[in-house]
Amino acid sequence: MDHHRRLSDIINFLPDATWAIDASGTVIAWNRAVEELTGVTSEQIIGRGNYEYALPFYGKRHPILIDAAISPNPEQEKNYESFVRTGDKVEAEIFVPHFRAGGVYFWGTARRLLDSSGSVVGAIETIRDITERKRIQEVMMQTEKMIMVGGMAAGMAHELNNPLGAILQHAQNIERRVSADIPANVKAAEDVGVSLDLVRAYLKKRGIFDFISHIRTAGIRASDIISKMLQFSRRGDSVTETVELSPLLDRVLELAATDYDMKKKYDFSHITVVREYAADVPQIRIIVTEIEQVLLNILKNAAQAIFAAAADREPRITVRSRLADAMVAIEIEDNGTGMDEATRLRIFEPFFTTKEVGSGTGLGLSVGYAVITKGHHGLLEVRSKPGVGSCFTISLPVSGREV
């Protein structure tokens, strides 16, 4: 009896959420950790069958991992992010969207229970909440990707500067060398037996002056893109200031409301701006212009997403600040179009854009990512739901730490 009791205690006190069913699918064990995780007590669930144990997780009765351990089910296995079967054991990862606000990633493993004759008499499953680990993994992957791609972008930008300089400057030299203002031009034309006036008249008639001016305009546009790319490798020599967050947020919102570019396309005055600033947010040490630029860029994107969304709800942007884990978090949430997971995962990549050609370089958010992570040792994260909206979170270290 004592021996039996000790075994059941061991299951009860296992640190991972663990339960077991018999061959008919009836719950025969439900330990403390799974009680804590689900809020369902062992008294409520032991003796129940008909996939009752799926309810706390999915809100529906259907086979889960523990059932897959007993009988393989290829259709069910497709629902897992990863699924491995090794002999009697299965192991899987799954995202459960409605378990908690924002959803939860579970890792789980289950194994058949066999009797002494080797027949299957049930199964046991253990699960673990790996949401935080997944998040850290995603941040690390994102950061590695950005360091690689950002470094490449900066290297390329640097290599392009000289050829671009030659294009821009020689276009200017061509303009100068056909100019009537320079005596040397008049003389050179005479030397070869033509009049500079006629040369100029010809160039004008054939639109060549316009071509040259277009070369310069195009060169300047390319050069603007390159200077943005170079910000990836910008050395941290700008001046940092210790500032209060709330006035900074107000100023950026003011900037967004008066920005000419935005007024033209996405009028901010039609958007309700909700400010939820926490009172206890400490000062932050930042490069003010850079953080303003990042915030403004996120607000612009939010306005664009709102104007692209169906007009069945009041356009709204919520700007929040709060203190979390020695970091100051700034959230910018919109109720615009939102984005799917594939877009969300690529949103910080340089040159990734969902906007039509010419209206975005695809550099805004990637430069923002570099500014926040590399320049300020912070985090830039985004969560989103198609049709509902997106929320960008900037986390910055509390003042006192050098940037």
Partner: protein, 128 residues
């Protein structure tokens, strides 16, 4: 000092850049000399003693910062400009010889007329 008396030395390992800037400044009537390396630049600066010297930053052998430090010893009256593709803040040594953030030119220069105006302004204000 007349514009035609202003001497400029351009040090850049990229021939394209030397040609572009030389052509423009010559059309403006300045006396332009070019060097394809820091080493050649040091040989020429001692002889030419230009009013203004524009140096590239990234050059094989000796970078622009080192070049200017060495060149300043040979020709302290020359005003130095650093032409660079990267964001750059002046080192303590370059600040000490009188350079300011205005003397750092970011590549690519969009409008050579501004460069030319800057050179004239510097040359005419330094020595009449």
């Amino acid at each position: 000092m007349r514009v035609s008396d202003i001497g400029v030395l351009l040090v850049d390992d990229d021939e394209m850049i030397r040609d572009c800037i030389t052509a423009y400044l010559e059309d403006e009537g300045l006396q332009v000399f070019a060097a394809a390396s820091a080493k050649e630049g040091l040989q020429k600066i001692a002889v030419i003693r230009p009013n203004v010297c524009i140096s590239d930053m990234n050059m094989p052998g000796m970078n622009g910062e080192e070049f200017i430090k060495n060149a300043f010893v040979l020709s302290p009256q020359t005003a130095y400009l650093l032409h660079t593709g990267m964001f750059y803040s002046l080192s303590a040594e370059l600040l000490q010889i009188g350079m300011t953030a205005d003397d750092v030119l970011l590549k690519p220069i969009h409008d050579l007329a501004q460069l030319s105006a800057k050179i004239k302004r510097i040359a005419l204000s330094r020595r009449g």
